[in-house]
Structures are given as C-alpha cells and as structure tokens.
Amino acid sequence: MSEIRVNPLSVLTWNKLNFNYAKMSVDEGLKAEDGPRENNLPGGVSFKGALDEAAYRNWLAENGIEYVSEAVVAGKFPMPDEQAFPTGMGAEADKLFLDNNVPAILYEVTESIERPLRFDYSYGDGDKVLENMIIHVRRGCSFTLILNISGETGSGCVGHSLKLYLEEDAKCTLVRLQMLPKSFMYFEDCGARLENRAELKYISLQLGSAKTYLGAFFDQWGYASKLWSGLGYIGLKDHFLDHNYVDCFRGKKTVGVMRFNGVLMENAVKVSRETLDFRQYCTGADGDEEEDLLVLGEDCVNKANPLILGEEEDVSGRHAVSVGRLSQDMLFYMQTRGIDEIKAQELMVRSRVMQLASQIPDDELKKNVERYLDRLYCDRVAECTAPCK
C-alpha cells in the first residue's frame, strides 16, 4: 500500500480540520484496464491510441493546452496543484497513473452521435485496475457517454481517470454509475475543459464501494460555456466518501450548476469540498451550488467545506447547504397522507438518488439503480415480506 494526497482544497484552511487534502491509500501492483479499445465504437468516435507521458504532452501541446500559472492575487498561497489539465483529485492522482505505467486512452468524437455510448466495466475479486481516458469532443459535436462500473462480489481497487476536452460548441453528457461491491476501494477523477459555448452535463452516482474518492475540476475557459453537474451517493455502514468538486469560471458569461444529493446512514463518513472559483475577467459568470444531505445515522460524520472564491466583481455566486434528518415539515406532510417515518425516510432516500438516476439516458441502468434501492430497503427493513428476500 502506498499513500498519496488527493482532493486538494482550492484554498487552504486550518490544518486541524483535516480539510486541506485527503490521504488515499492505494494498492501496489495496479494494472491498466486491458481489452480491445477499437471495437464496437459507433461511427464518429475513434480510438486514437494509448498515450504515454510524452505522447500525452504532445497531445496537450497540439491542442494548445498548457499549464497556466494560476491567476492568483498576491497573498493567496499555496498554489493549487500544478496540472496543465487540472483534475479534482489533483497532481498526485495523475502521477499515480504514470507511476503504474497506465497510458491515457484517447478517443476523439468527430461527429454528433445521437445514441448514448456505454462502456461497461465489470470487476471481480482481487481486481486492481486503473482506467485512464481522454475524450476529445471536436467542434460542434454532441456526444453522450455512460461509464457503467459494477462488480458482483469480492474486494479490489479500481481507479478511473477521465479528461474531457470539449471544443467550441461541443456538447457532452457524461454519466458515471458506480455499483461495485462494498469491499472495493474506488476512486474517480475528472478534469474537463470547456471552450466557447461548450456544454457539459456530468452525472456521477456512487452506490457501492465502501471507500470512495471523487474529484472533478470543471475548467470553463470558453465564453458562455455551461456546466451542469450532479453527484449522488448513499453512504452505508462503514462507508467513507471524500470528494472535491471545483467549478472554475474563466470565460465571460460562463454558467455552472453543481448539485450534491447525499444520504448518510449508520456510521457513514463524508468529507466534501465544493468550490466555485471565479477568476478575473469572467464577467457575467453565474455559479450555483447546492448540497442537500440527508443524515439518517446516529454515528454519521458529515464534513463540508463549500468555497466561493472571487477575483471578479461582476459575477453572481450562490451556495446553499441543507443538512439534517428528514425535516419536521416534510415528515408531517408525508404523515398526513398516511406514510410513517420509516417509509418517509425511504421515499426521501429514493427521491434523492432518482433525481439523478432519472437523467441517465439508459433504461437498463435506471432499472439497476431502482433494483439497488429495492434491495437496500429489503435488507434494511426486517419486516419486509417481498419475494426478493
């Protein structure tokens, strides 16, 4: 096992709070995802090769992507992790892939594709796998990709890194659905660069592994680029989830929405960092971030640090958190319709997850999520007499 620092907080705060970064232990001997890359790709999507470090640098250079020393007003230190293509988990996560000789698989989208493309990853006991992808969506193309990550039983370690480069007017919907067995450790990293008028919808649903690290850095360079991001998760007994989401507004009139729908049960632990970062000259930018967390366990730990960083005056940024048990008003309303507290809780858990799941453009996966919720409540409600038990 080795330990790396991931999910760096965009601006440091008191060390005692343990927010400034997360320590993540990863197994030794991680291997690159294998298997054919060119097969079954629809027309308009092509496999452009597995990039090693040098090839990756070339790709960055070809596309004019370079490390920009952060536009920081004097007095802010230290600097965020230095990455030419920033990701939520930060530079050490990138390095983990390099150290394990995992190349970046580059896909290019050169035509608009109506039908969602789905990559299924099914993991088994003992799997220690890293997946590293770059999706380059060319000018004006629209594309939907679903990463379906699942496994039946056993334990393992899975890490997925994804870099999304959306050229001008590109539109992309990206779904990451993780339903690994509990004893898996899972991390997913994302960096997205949006050029002029590019639009990204990014949905991540975490319904499985007991140890989860998530990072996302949305770099909105382009004029009027748009982001909508939704993260949903259920933390069960002994679950730990740590995430770092950053929406960085650089272009004028950029719009970003981030939603966090979570549920914590029993003794689940969640650490979240959610940042709206308004850089100088992003005039007219609009950022809106909301965390809605249902806490249903006595021993849950909920840590949150929602940052708003402002270098530009002409912006509008908003953040709201609501955390707690089922609200008294909501409970009363449900009860007036004959729904008791336990059932009301279940409905609230389902609604939080389904809000995001209903947006997955894949009926089979939507069903999978519903089945997961059904199973969850069969296991949890002792008196349940449904046939599935």
Binding site: F332, Q335, R337, G338, I339, K343, S351, R352, M354
Partner: protein
C-alpha cells in the same frame, strides 16, 4: 360507524408558551359538510393542524374523537391511516419522487398490501378526467415547480385518490385563481358524493358557492362563538365578524 365522524371536546392547544385554542368543542356528523370561519389569527389553521396531530402544536387539555376512537395521542400517520386528511396551503416539494409513486406508497402503507397496478392506473386516469387535469401531472415530481393553482389541484387530486373519511381543507389562502377554485369545488363535490365528510376552513366564501353546507361555525380568539346552518355563511358575508369580535 359512530354517528359523529369527529367530536372535539374542551380542546386547549397552542404552540410553546402560548395557548391558541381555549376550550373548543366541535361535532361533525358522518357525511356532513361543515365550514369553519373566523377572522385572521382566530386559530382556524391551528385547529386543522391540531386535529391532524401536527407536532408543532401541543394539546394541553381536551380530546379529539375520530370515528368513535380517541385519536388525541395518535401520531400523524396513524390518524391519516384511520381516514383523516389535511390539505396544505404550501404542500412540500420532493424532487425525484413522482406524485404517482408517492400516492402508490401512501396507499400501500395504509392497506399494508401491494397496490394493484392496473386498478391504480385506472383510478388515476379517471380522477384526472373528473378533475379535468392533464394526466402528465402525476408523472411530475411531487409539487416541484407547481404553480399555486397546480399545487391546490394536486392536493385535491390526492384527496380523491386516498379517499379519507374526513377531509380538512384549509382554504384560508384566498389567492386562488378561478381555474383552481373550479377544480377544488368539483373535487370536493365528488368527495361528498362518495360519502366523505368535510371541514372547510376559510374566510372567503367563493369556494362554498356551489356547495351544500350543513353547518357553519364561527371561531374567534380560539373559541367557537357561534354555531349555525348555512345561512350563517351569508350573514358573515354581509356583516363580517365584527358582531362576534366586539366585547
């Protein structure tokens, strides 16, 4: 079945440190439609909430007998399962939960049996038709993004699907559009025809125009100061509450 669907005796209730209802008596016979009127701040909405068992209020004395059973100490959902219903001025929004799924769960909770999908669907369609509502309503997330009128319609829709014995309709908010008033009136009418009892809390009478009212009660300062028949509604329409609030 007991003669009275609802019997309230000597009810004292309020919020922490402040009594709002000071010894209130009220009886509603099964199948009847009662109207509770009163000036602002008289405690009308409090009464509705207390009958339903809202935890915001505490009952210091008196009892609420529903369908022959003392429900004063029952929890809200138990009361609902026994056949009480309270409409909300501002029903809560639940993104991600469709109204259809919500009602299906509510019925299952009440009956303890899985809901028969076909029959349920049919009932929903029929109710939509009766209320002249677009069936897409029920697919939408519960109350999310509903306008004021739509919310009101959705509450009446729930009333007809859940089929309680006694519905308390809190209509103190008079800012309803014509369309919503029509839907409410229609829904209430259907509910009555099916044998439901009603307690309508209001200070306007628009909703009552098309409705046969059996009894009217006037609530002032936490006490019912006058019981009467439907003519009392007209009297208040012309004379207001001044007669009851003076002295």
């Amino acid at each position: 079945m007991a003669d009275n669907i609802l019997k309230i005796q000597g009810l004292h209730a309020g919020i922490e440190g402040e009594e709002i209802l000071h010894g209130l008596d009220l009886e509603i016979a099964a199948g009847e439609t009662h109207v509770l009127m009163g000036p602002n701040g008289a405690g009308k909405s409090t009464l509705g909430n207390v009958i339903m068992g809202s935890p915001v209020y505490n009952v210091s004395a008196g009892s609420v007998i529903f369908d022959g059973e003392d429900i004063t100490k029952d929890s809200v959902d138990v009361r609902a399962k026994k056949g009480l219903f309270l409409s909300f001025q501002n029903p809560l929004e639940v993104p991600g939960l469709s109204m259809e799924a919500f009602l299906r769960n509510a019925i299952r909770e009440r009956t303890g049996k899985p809901v028969k999908v076909f029959a349920f669907k049919k009932k929903i369609e029929e109710t939509c038709r009766l209320l002249d509502m677009d069936p897409s309503y029920v697919e939408r997330d519960l109350n999310v993004g509903f306008s004021g009128g739509e919310k009101k319609k959705a509450e009446i829709f729930q009333l007809l699907i859940l089929e309680p014995k006694l519905a308390i309709l809190d209509e103190t908010d008079s800012g309803l559009d014509v369309d919503a008033v029509r839907t409410v009136s229609k829904g209430v009418d259907i509910f009555k025809q099916n044998g439901g009892s009603l307690l309508i809390i209001t200070h306007s009478t628009r909703i009552l125009d098309a409705l046969k009212v059996d009894k009217t009660h006037v609530l002032v300062n936490g006490k019912i100061v006058k019981h009467g028949d439907s003519s009392l509604v007209d009297e208040i329409n012309t004379g207001g509450f001044a007669k009851y609030t003076e002295g």
